[in-house]
Each structure stands twice: as C-alpha cells, then as structure tokens.
C-alpha cells in the first residue's frame, strides 16, 4: 500500500531506523547522546522513548568502546547501528574498525558475520569548529572488508539505512550533515513500497556534454551545476556513486563512453582519494572514449580550514562549471 510522506534527509533516516527496529528485535542503536537527546542532529529522536534503553544505548563517551562492543554484540547475534557524533571523532575507533570489524569475517572464513552499521555525519558547510566538517571516507574505502556508502537524498536515506542494517557486512554509512534538515531537499517518498536495492551508482540526471560523478553532499552541487550549465547549452550527466567501497563504476564507464568527459567532485582532499581512484579506473577502462583528461574538483590537500574560509575550500557550482569548461576546451 502506498504511503506518501514528504521528508527531509534527517527525518527519512529517523523513520528508516525506526522501521528497522520494528522489523528486527536484534537491531540496536548505540552512540553518544542518541537516547534522551536524540543525537546531536536529532536523527534518533524518539527512538529510546519507544524502544527502551536496552535497544537505544546512550553509551559512555569513547568511540573505540562503541565500535568494539558493537563487534562483540554482532558476534552474539545482534545488529548494532552505531552513531559517531561527527566524522572527526571517528579516529579513536579506527583500530576497532580496521582490525576487527572489517576483518573478522575474512579471518574466520565466513564463520563470524559482522552486521554492524556505523553512521557518520560528514562534510562541511555548517560553520563549525575544527573536527566537525571533514570528509574521511577515502581512508575507510581503503580497508578491505568494509563497505562504505553515502546518501544524498531522502529516499536513499530512508531505504538505504534499512538496506545497510539488513546487510551481513559491516557498513560505514556516511550522511551529509549539511543537508539533514534542508527543507528545500524534502522529497515525497513512498515509505511502504520498496524501490529494490538502493546501493550502487545511479544516474540522477541524464546528459550528453560531460559526466559529473559525485556522492554525498556534493551531488547537490553537481545537480545545481547541471541546471546552470543547461542555461549555457551544456548537458551534464550527473551520477551519484552511493557505494564508495567497493566502488560501482560500471554506470560511470558507460556514461563516459557516451559523453567522453568526466569531472569527479568531492569535498575530500584530493591526493589518494576516491576521486583519484575514479580517475585511474576511468582512464584504464575508457581510454579511447575520453576526449579530455579526467578532472577533479575537491577539497585541497590541507586540514579542513577555519569555517570562515570553507566557502573557498568546498567545491561549489562555479568550480564545477569551471572544470566543465576546462574539459570542453581540451
């Protein structure tokens, strides 16, 4: 039965989490301040009230503890969903993520399943202090055994979080915090009829002049750029990666073979990043289709700057359009 609701990304996540908890009593929420407060972004708002303190755990303040105990709970048969307050705080948990969470299935030849989701609000543009605006997803994409995904819209948030929780693999679920509560991005979602598999790359706007590939908060930037480019008579195809590791580049190859040009957009620093990987693989697979080199629009290879400078650091519509022009002028 169709049930249409107009939702922000944040509300869609909240409803998706709620639904996952209703469907499977083994699903637990764990994190700092996620119970009574509902999380610093209120994504888990109301869940503890309805599911109790044993299923929505206001944990002690230690990220390794959150992830390390989630690993043990998963061994016991639970499906923990951890919230990291801000991406810049995930590093105390890096050891447990890389040494245990990502490797136990491999280490045991598949005997131990690790159905753990780690939700990570990421990205900049919120005018925050240090450690609250970073994009560390490339670091996690390099760890075999982990799946890394991101969302850019409310429908993917609602269905994607449920898909991630159902998965028997450990998943880092990157959420664009800047867009959580954007009224402009509200989407009408049928919350009852599943769209099928969410993750994997998806063409979100068709075009013929050049391809722009992105994920998370930068998808909105790419779409805005495509709208602006249209006024100049350029037709940009925009692809949302959604799955960052293992990368699903099939639709990107297909698109590049059509347009001959690719611009990869991300807020993360440039060197050794996902955009580097995309550029390498596309030149390898689409060498004879390319009309110009793959260009990248990204953060700089600096620490995230003080927020008064972030408008210079973050890829915006103009930088994407500039890259499109450079690509076309080759």
């Amino acid at each position: 039965m169709m049930d249409l609701q107009k939702l922000t990304i944040g509300k869609a996540l909240n409803l998706g989490l709620r639904r996952a908890m209703e469907e499977d009593p083994k699903v637990l929420m764990m994190g700092e301040d996620i119970g009574k407060l509902g999380g610093v972004f209120r994504i888990t708002d109301g869940l503890q009230k309805d599911f109790g303190e044993q299923r929505v755990l206001d944990t002690p303040l230690a990220e390794s503890g959150i992830i390390g105990t989630a690993v043990g709970l998963a061994v016991r048969g639970f499906r923990p969903v951890c919230e990291i307050q801000f991406e810049g705080f995930i590093f105390p948990g890096f050891d447990q993520i890389s040494s245990q969470l990502a490797k136990l299935h491999y280490r045991t030849q598949g005997r131990v399943k690790m159905p753990v989701v780690i939700r990570v609000p990421f990205g900049g543009g919120i005018g925050a202090v240090e450690h609250h605006s970073e994009s560390p997803e490339s670091l996690f994409s390099h760890i075999a055994g982990l799946k890394v995904v991101s969302i850019s819209n409310a429908a993917d948030a609602y269905w994607g979080i449920q898909e991630a929780i159902r998965s028997d693999d450990p998943i880092l679920f990157f959420e664009p915090k800047k867009l959580y509560h954007s009224g402009a991005l509200k989407m009408e979602i049928d919350t009852e009829t599943s769209p099928g598999r969410v993750f994997g790359s998806r063409v979100v706007r068709e075009g013929t002049t050049a391809t722009v590939v992105s994920y998370g908060p930068s998808v909105k930037v790419a779409l805005d750029a495509a709208t602006a480019a249209e006024e100049e008579g350029k037709s940009l195809e925009v692809i949302d990666l959604r799955t960052l590791s293992p990368l699903d580049l099939g639709p990107v190859f297909e698109s590049v073979r059509k347009t001959g040009r690719l611009i990869a957009v991300s807020e993360a620093p440039l060197e050794s990043s996902l955009t580097s990987e995309i550029a390498a693989r596309v030149q390898q697979e689409c060498f004879y289709s390319l009309e110009s080199p793959v260009l990248r629009v990204a953060g700089f290879d600096t620490p995230y700057p003080p927020a008064k400078l972030e408008e210079h650091y973050l890829p915006d519509l103009d930088r994407v359009l500039h890259a499109v022009d450079r690509s076309l002028s080759w």
């Binding site: 637990l28 044993q54 944990t59 002690p60 230690a62 390794s64 503890g65 992830i67 390390g68 105990t69 989630a70 690993v71 043990g72 709970l73 998963a74 061994v75 016991r76 048969g77 639970f78 923990p80 105390p92 050891d95 447990q96 040494s99 245990q100 136990l104 299935h105 491999y106 280490r107 045991t108 030849q109 598949g110 005997r111 131990v112 399943k113 690790m114 075999a144 055994g145 799946k147 998965s167 028997d168 693999d169 293992p246 990368l247 699903d248």
Partner: protein, 401 residues
Amino acid sequence: MPSEQWTHPEPGEGPAAIAAQPSPEQVIAGLRATSEGGAELTQLLTPEGQRIPSEQFDSYVADVDDEVLRNLYRDMVLVRRADREANAMQRQGQLGIWVPLLGQEAAQIGSGRALGPRDMAFPSYREHGVAYARGVDLRDLLGIFRCTDHSGWDYQAHRFHPYTIVIGNQVLNAAGYAMGQKFEGKVGDDDGEATICYFGDGATSQGDVHEGFVWGAVYDAPLVFFCQNNQWAISEPTERQSRLPLYQRARGYGFPGIRVDGNDVLACLAVTRWALEQCRHGNGPVLIEAFTYRMDAHTTTDDPTRYRLSDELEEWKLKDPIERVRAYLARGGGADHDFFDGVQAEADEFAAQLREHTFNMPEPPPDRIFANVYAEPSPVLDAQREEYLSYLDGFATAGEH
C-alpha cells in the same frame, strides 16, 4: 572482597607526611615488591605441593578429588608438551612464528576448565591452553602459525572466539558479547551465562582495556576480565604498565578485583568459578589477575636474555605449575609412577600427531585470498579473482607447450 588499600598521604597531611613519601626509586623498588605476589595472593596449593585451606574458595573446588586433579595435571602436561613441540617446529622452520605459553599452563587450564558449556571465551593469542580446554583441536590452531589460515576453528561450537593479535581489542569485543548475554536475559541465576576475556599485563595500558572495564561496569556485563600477569610485555616489565598491583585497578571501576597465584591450577579453577558465579548471578564484572611468569620468550622472534635476569627465571622455575600438582599427588598417593609415565607417553604421542599434521597441512589454493572478504558478493573482487586466476592459468598453458 580481597583487596589491599594502596596507602598514600592525603593532601594537607603536612611536611612530615610528604617527607615520608618514597622517592621515585623507592616507588619502583616498592612496586617490584608489591608485584611479588604479596599477602593478597590467593593460593590453594603451594609450590611445594602443600594444600592450603581457604575459607572463601574451598567450596568452589569441593568436587576436585584426586581423579579431577590428575585430569588437570594431564591437561597441563599435554598443553606444555604441545607448546614445546610447536616451539621446536618453529625453530625448524615449520611454523612462521610461535607464541609460547610455557609457565602459564595453570592459569589457562584452571580458568579454562572453570568455564561452562554456554560461557564464551575471548582469547588474546597465547591462550593455547584455554583453546585446548574449550575442545579446540590444536591442529586447527596451528594453521595460524603455519600461516595457512587466520583462525581454523568453529568459534560457536567451541565458544572460543578467534585469536586477537592487536593488543587489547578483544576486551571490548568481549564486553559487547557479555552485554548481549545480559540483554538476552541470560544472567540472574545458576543457569546464567558469562564471558571470560583473556589479556596480558601489557594490554592493561591500552585504551581498549580501560574502555572495556568502563563498558563492563556500566552495563553490569557478566564478564570476567582474566589478566595473565606474566611480568613482561615483550621487554617491558609490569611496573612500566602500572604504579599499583593490577587487580587493584578494579576498584576504580567499581567491581571486584582479585589476585590469584597463576601457577596454582587449583586456585585458578576456584577463583574463576567464583568470578563466573558472580557474573552469572548478575553482579557485573570481576577482574582476576593471575600472577604468573612467562618462562620462555614473548614469541620465537624475541630474545629475553637481553632484558631480564636469569636469576628471575631460576626463581620462577621453583614455582612451576605442573610440579606442584605432581608433588601433591605423589605425596598423597593420588598418583603413582605409572600414571606420570603414562601421561608423559600420551603427551609425546600428542606432540607427534601435531608434528605430523603440521608437516602435512595443505597450502590453501590461491583463490582463498579472495574468499569471504564480504558476506555478500562483490563484483569488484570477483573480477580481481578471475583476472588473477586467468593470469595463473597462463603459466599452466605455457608449461604444456
């Protein structure tokens, strides 16, 4: 609860009290002294094989008659013999590395035999004796050190988690598992479940161990923290990890801590049974510090002669965990020469089987590299596997011509 107050002048006690404080050198010397077992050490069997009555713990080993003790003796002899065989095989190049347990047999067999069938154990990487006590075939375990596998046993069937090599990680994993037991309502009476987690004195410096203590306490997890204080974290002594006896750390987290003679299998059995009982009944975690000694190197890559004195080793030889049980049984008529000879013969046969199995251990096929990275299929990995296997096939085809 056994504990010793760590005395320290309170602030404001005056210059005389401050002057009475020990110098840093005296503190270090004092720690050494504090670490020498001390009056708080729980012991039921002396190094000379004398049984010491214990008001608190005798009831926990009331069932241990000569037959049970003979079995514990046999366990320790078999495990030690296997350990020595593996050590030798590493020296002969048959194992990539070995992590010796020599000297820690009582701590591992005593605690391992205390566990019930539903309890779960989270080991570090030296717990071969606990693995044996949980019914893991040591031949499966040797694959780790032959480098054919990362973990070769069914952890669910044996209720023995895979080895964890990163120091201290498993303490948090165990805390999570024990929280799960609690959430499922498996605690509260004699039929309750518990988890035991093994780590060393060096691990107590890791943040994960601290966090494990916090989580265990906050959630009243049925979790026995079993610290084998074998005095050395590779070359770093225990006093480099702590300014007070490790078991006393439990007070800061609000759960009981106890130090047991880790070379006394009877005391380790009794204290672990007591701790598990506390957990099963929902009283939250217990920290056991098994005071023992690593008689061999940290691993076969280590050279302990660079950092510790031979006197220390000689002193600990007198506290051998197997010899004291042998003395007790022999003195009391619980076992005779035939028994001891029989166990030794069985141990030799056990070691020979391990050796034969190790030599015949098949190498895994190349495509195992790609197996089980994910629970769900990965087209990216599938492509890498196919490409590499095809590359290897090219050599086979070339060889045919």
